[in-house]
Amino acid sequence: MATDKNKHLNDVLTSHKVSKEQDLLDKHKRKRDEICDALVEKYGADIYSPFNSGSFAKNTAVNKKFDFDLMAPFKRNAFSTLENMFNDVYDFLLEKYSSSAHVRKQKVSIGIEFFADDKGDIVKIDVVPGRELNQDQYKEDDKLNLYVYSQFGKLQSGSDYIRSNIKAQVQNIKDNADRANLRQKVRLLKVWKLYNNKTPKSFFLELITIKAFDKLEISGGLWDRLKSVIEYIRDNVTTVSLPDPGNSNNEVADSMSDYEKSALSDDMRNMINRIEENSDYIKIYFPLNDKFPVEDTSNNKYDERKVAPSIPPPTRFG
């Protein structure tokens, strides 16, 4: 029997909800808060309040693989160079966590991967150090310069930096979230990426999805709407411009090589052809998370203990 594509995609979203991994989520939150406190204690007046900047802040996370991104905004005069900032934060985190985690330098962040706990859970937090452009200017414009440790698309390691407004990046997807439930499409593309071992950065997928919504009339059921986005990527990924909402001079499209873009276009073409050929293929491209099978909800309902008026007690909310 043919697969109901809309129902399947809804089930995929349900089985990948981060709330299903509540314990792991709570462990991440506790570690994030601990790192946050440690940074504030270590750097005192040289640091502004660290904040969430990744998929959790944007509400686009899926439960198959997740980490937390913690933006650490420093004052201009805290470090003479961006490289000093990056290395100092790395040294501090390495010293603090080397006995309990792998700490490593990444493209623009310092990755902390804690050793598995007794339940086998692994907490991963990426700390992204950034420095304001001029002393005290961050309070006015939220802009930060990030150090590029290793090659990042067309940006060179060591010699380049990224200037951006991370809060504007987070706000961008929030502002677009209500457009035909755009975040659902981003989550589905992340599921595709994770299970099919693909390389596009999540930020790239977010921006190109928003672009598709800008350019197209996205309507219909969930599959029709996702298909419109996939077709847009297929047809435009090699030429599209994706300016960073935090700094229009940053071209996020440059984070992929021409070859990678071409391969992504082919992937999108193949995916649509296969699924249109045989709807069962949708289960391969967008699988359920086996750990969280979807329950039959047909018997669920708003129940009443008896047909009589309910009188709620005085209640406190916070």
Binding site: N10, D11, L13, T14, K17, S19, D178, N181, V294, E295, T297, S298, N300, K301, Y302, D303, E304, R305, K306, V307, A308, P309, S310, I311, P312, P313, P314, T315, R316, F317, G318
Partner: protein
């Protein structure tokens, strides 16, 4: 506005007019929290809750970070609505989070759980609307208590 929670397969509908009324009531008390109860009915198959109106409390305590709804006069009003045509019932609660996200606090979760289990409440799945409110914007979070857990609705 139509919302659903896919995980439990339940739906919620609420009009933009009612949301405007709620926002205006919240702004009158901003930057303190404020709230009220939600009135409506269930579809015949009990899959959809239609939120139709709000009753504002005549007794309450509020601050920037908390809101305590009293129950003075509620019984009489709810009995009148129940006996009306169409019959309307209590379906849940709403309150504002001034300058904050519409995410349930521990107090909110305890409050909703307490309502669901209270002997004078006959519905098993009360809903909770949290309104993240600033003078310029409103962000909504709709939740439901279902079988000992809280679920969030999403638009669709």
């Amino acid at each position: 506005m139509k919302l659903r929670n896919e995980e439990i397969g339940l739906f919620l509908e609420i009009s933009d007019d009612l949301l405007r009324t709620i926002r205006e009531s919240g702004l009158l008390h901003y930057p303190k929290e404020f709230g009220g109860i939600l009135i409506g009915n269930y579809s015949t198959d009990k899959k959809i809750v239609n939120v139709i109106d709000t009753l504002l409390p005549t007794s309450y305590k509020s601050s920037k970070f908390s809101f305590e709804r009293g129950s003075e006069g509620l019984k009489e009003q709810l009995e009148t609505l129940f006996n009306g045509a169409p019959s309307l019932i209590y379906v849940g609660e709403w309150h504002t989070h001034p300058d904050a996200q519409p995410l349930p606090s521990g107090t909110d979760i305890m409050g909703l759980t307490g309502i669901a289990k209270h002997r004078d409440v006959n519905i098993t799945s009360p809903i909770l609307l949290i309104v993240g409110l600033t003078p310029a914007s409103m962000e909504l979070g709709f939740y439901v208590y279902f079988k000992d857990k809280i679920y969030r609705y999403e638009t669709y």
